[in-house]
Amino acid sequence: MQLILPIALVLAVLAACFVGLFWRLASRFDARNCTAEWLDDFSLESYAPMERLLGQGDLEFLASQPGYRAEIAKRLMAERRKIFASYLGHLVRDFNQLIKIGKLMIVFSTEDRQEFAYSLWRQQLRFYAGVCSMWLQLALYPLGWTATDAHRLVAALTAMRDQVQMLSSPSQTRFQTI
């Protein structure tokens, strides 16, 4: 009798997993959003400001100006943190879009893409770990932790773009019907 509760618990977890997976299967990303136009518009250069948004250089310059007050720097950094967070959101969205394109190209490819699939998966893990660490750094920024490293995330996005680029092939029979 004392096993009824654990069994019910395991069943509840299983049910939650299956419901979650069915929901995910039913709401997988829409391939119609993965367009060549998006890829043409995609540019890594738009993330260049990210690398210096939270840098100390501007603050030092500000501090050397006459009439400087600590509140000005505080307000400036609060605004910049908001802008940085917005950049980070865009970065994640672009990364996810590249992943979707990569997955589509892998699934519909006429050649075996096992290595690319592993590589994409590793990149994804590394990137999400980097994003989590960046959010943590951003949260700790007002407490004096100023060592944010946006460069690593932009580099991960570049690597993903390169990976997807490597999936493109000049041959005639690139994709297959299903």
Binding site: L3, I7, L11, L14, A15, C17, F18, L21, F22, R24, L25, A26, S27, R28, F29, D30, A31, R32, C34, T35, A36, L39, D40, K100, I101, K103, L104, M105, I106, V107, F108, S109, T110, E111, D112, R113, Q114, A117, Y118, V164, Q165, L167, S168, S169, P170, R174, F175, Q176, T177, I178
Partner: protein, 254 residues
């Protein structure tokens, strides 16, 4: 002579009717040629359900017939799940090797997970007891296998026929019920009647669901990536992929 309780007699008749109707529907729609093992499974299940109609429940012949047909049902259940995934992943060379390796790893993991609760189960002293001891890990490993393969399908935009989703939903409910009820039995709780009632009712519900939800058009209707699929989408997606490819090649040359 021992007889089935009245509610089980009703459910038995309902199950037989549903099995006959589902087999006929599958043959009519030509689905029996696509899902060969599933069709075989339905036939074996039908044979098993017909046994108590002709053979007395307390006879040795009934026990032997049950054990033999149940062993066949277990074999077919395994083949049905493997068949389903070979159909889903067929004709996708891009992820052919990847999915094969994933399935191998998944099978090992599923078997290992299913063996965990074995230490809690009682040592059987009857032939049917031994059968249940074997059946529970097989049903559990099939369930875990389905769960892990669904995770793969949720990750990659593999095109799924509507029928595949219908099969999956039915199997999940059926295997969860089966694995749980057999596990409770193997723990030594012999609430035989309510357990059998639940099992029969759930199985009938699954059969009815398959009967009404499976169709010939379910093979062509595909849930590819986030939306219902119609034939013109196929050409559009390929054109889209070609355009993406061209765009990547252009930016690669820059």
């Amino acid at each position: 002579m021992r007889q089935l309780p009245i509610e089980q007699q009703i459910l038995l008749v309902a199950q037989i009717a549903a099995l006959v109707a589902l087999s006929a529907r599958m043959s009519w729609d030509g689905l029996n040629k696509i899902y060969v093992y599933f069709f075989g499974y339905l036939v074996v299940e039908l044979l098993q359900l017909l046994v108590p109609v002709f053979v007395p429940l307390d006879s040795r012949l009934y026990r032997d017939a049950y054990v033999v047909t149940q062993a066949l049902v277990i074999c077919f259940s395994t083949l049905v799940v493997l068949e389903l995934y070979s159909i889903v992943l067929r004709g996708l060379p891009g992820i052919g090797n990847l999915s094969r390796r994933y399935i191998k790893a998944t099978l090992v993991l599923a078997v290992l997970i299913s063996l965990i609760p074995m230490s809690l189960e009682q040592t059987p002293n009857t032939v049917t007891g031994y059968l249940f001891i074997f059946q529970r890990p097989i049903m559990t490993s099939l369930l875990v296998f389905i769960l892990l393969i669904m995770a793969f399908l949720a990750y990659y935009p593999v095109p799924l026929g509507r029928n595949v989703l219908v099969y999956l939903s039915g199997y999940v409910v059926y295997f969860v019920t089966n694995a749980t009820t057999i596990f409770i039995r193997n723990l030594g709780h012999y609430w035989s009647r309510p357990i059998s009632d639940v099992q029969m009712l759930v199985y009938f519900t699954c059969l009815a669901f398959w009967l009404f939800a499976l169709s010939r058009s379910g093979e062509t209707k595909r849930m590819v990536v986030g939306h219902q699929w119609d034939p013109s989408d196929e050409g559009r997606l390929l054109a889209q992929l070609e355009a993406i490819n061209a765009s990547l090649l252009r930016s690669g040359k820059k």
